[in-house]
Symmetry: C2
Subunit: 215 residues, 2 copies
DNA sequence: CGATCAGTTGACCCAAATCAAGCTCCGTGG
DNA sequence: CCACGGAGCTTGATTTGGGTCAACTGATCG
């Protein structure tokens, strides 16, 4: 696990949205660690314990099958906390998507952090369960629509949405191939539902249509 | 929400496995409520608050799309606790699959149950995230294999597995149609991986094969 | 014993995967 | 400043796994 600052870190678009004052009572905060794009933050099977809070950038949480198929179970954006587990082992991988700053919290052994962690765990649980509906019962357009709505809402409901992740990541989050994701984006553009300002920057033109698609 | 004892309750196969001594400290336990097959325990949008512990029977947690598509996000068997939410509202439906007994725990307002609930929430989160991999990246055989392994392990790893739920429920849990579930069961029978003792009772003949399939 | 509901099986179809080119956007170095 | 190279993305042709539709079978229960 390495945490080196990459030569050049693009901050402009990754500034922590609401510099989150959430500092865990009793937990000792380490200085921010930097991870360059693609760097592993922790791996499945590693010992768990510390908590991570995204300062800027974005993180993907995922699992792999033996043959390399990947499922991203969650993205964590600026302000969000991750790294807690049911036992002392990590069950997933965590990687920086872009140049990412992460604040590490060590919880003194014997200290009970339940009160602080429970709401995070519950929100994660609800999100995961809602995502199950998307993966289990929605088609490609519905999945992408749900994804764009989710990203928009997590960025304050603005019509301009910044995607920190590649089409590949989106595919592995939505259970689709990169080609299908690309085709759906094209379809949504043709329908005038969205507009691409750049590859990773999307403007939502017809929010209602998108919402209706994501059901 | 009704909780009437059905005329005749089949207990024999639904006796609580390990009569779970888990009684929440400080929470006041109500007597066991009975729900006949198909009865609603709570609905999406209802006010949340109390916790439920399955005494016998089984419960399905699910969500619906506008057109009726259903995704079951979890099954809860004897001994398991459910009903906690991120806020004061239920985001899912909970229904008794069969005649089911549920112990209700009211938590006195002002009382902090974080310590007791967190491990439950974390295990639920891990399970949900693992299920995301199944729904996002596995094919029909792999899904059914993973399901049978999961059910077996949750019943103590015995080779004989009792399925509390219908093929329809299994389909809505695995993101498959009832026909596909049925066809996969047939294929697994033909391959000699499982044997049906009855429709809802399955014997695992080749555990290793099943494990390898579920990856 | 029918009646009914759950499950199985078969024929056909379609949405998304796969396979295969291209294209676009950048970063790098001449 | 432009040529080059490569990764990321798009588009098209084809295939296929699982969905849909439909008929049948088998269990369960008045």
């Amino acid at each position: 696990m390495y945490a080196q600052a990459s030569a050049k870190i693009e901050l402009s678009s990754y500034v922590a949205r609401q510099s989150p004052a959430l500092v865990f009572d009793g937990a000792t905060a380490q200085p921010v660690s930097f991870f360059p794009a693609g760097a592993e933050i922790y791996a499945q099977g590693e010992k768990a314990g510390v908590l991570y809070q995204v300062e800027f950038g974005a993180v993907r949480i995922y699992r792999l099958l033996a043959d390399g198929r990947r499922q991203i179970s969650a993205f964590h954006l600026a302000g969000e906390t991750f790294g807690f587990e049911a036992d002392t082992t990590h069950h997933f991988f965590a990687e920086a998507i872009n140049a990412t700053g992460v604040r590490v919290f060590r919880t003194p052994s014997g200290m009970d952090m339940s009160r602080q962690i429970l709401p995070l765990a519950l929100r994660g649980l609800t999100r995961a369960q809602e995502h199950l509906l998307v993966l289990g019962r929605q088609n490609a357009i519905e999945r992408v629509a749900a994804f764009l709505v989710e990203m928009s809402e997590r960025q304050g409901g603005l019509q301009q949405v910044e995607l920190a992740m590649s089409r590949n990541d989106i595919g592995d989050y939505l259970g689709l191939t990169i080609e299908t994701v690309s085709r759906v984006f094209t379809r949504l553009k043709e329908k005038g539902v969205i507009r691409l300002l750049s590859l990773r920057s999307i403007e939502i033109l017809k929010r209602d249509t998108l919402l209706a698609m994501g059901e």
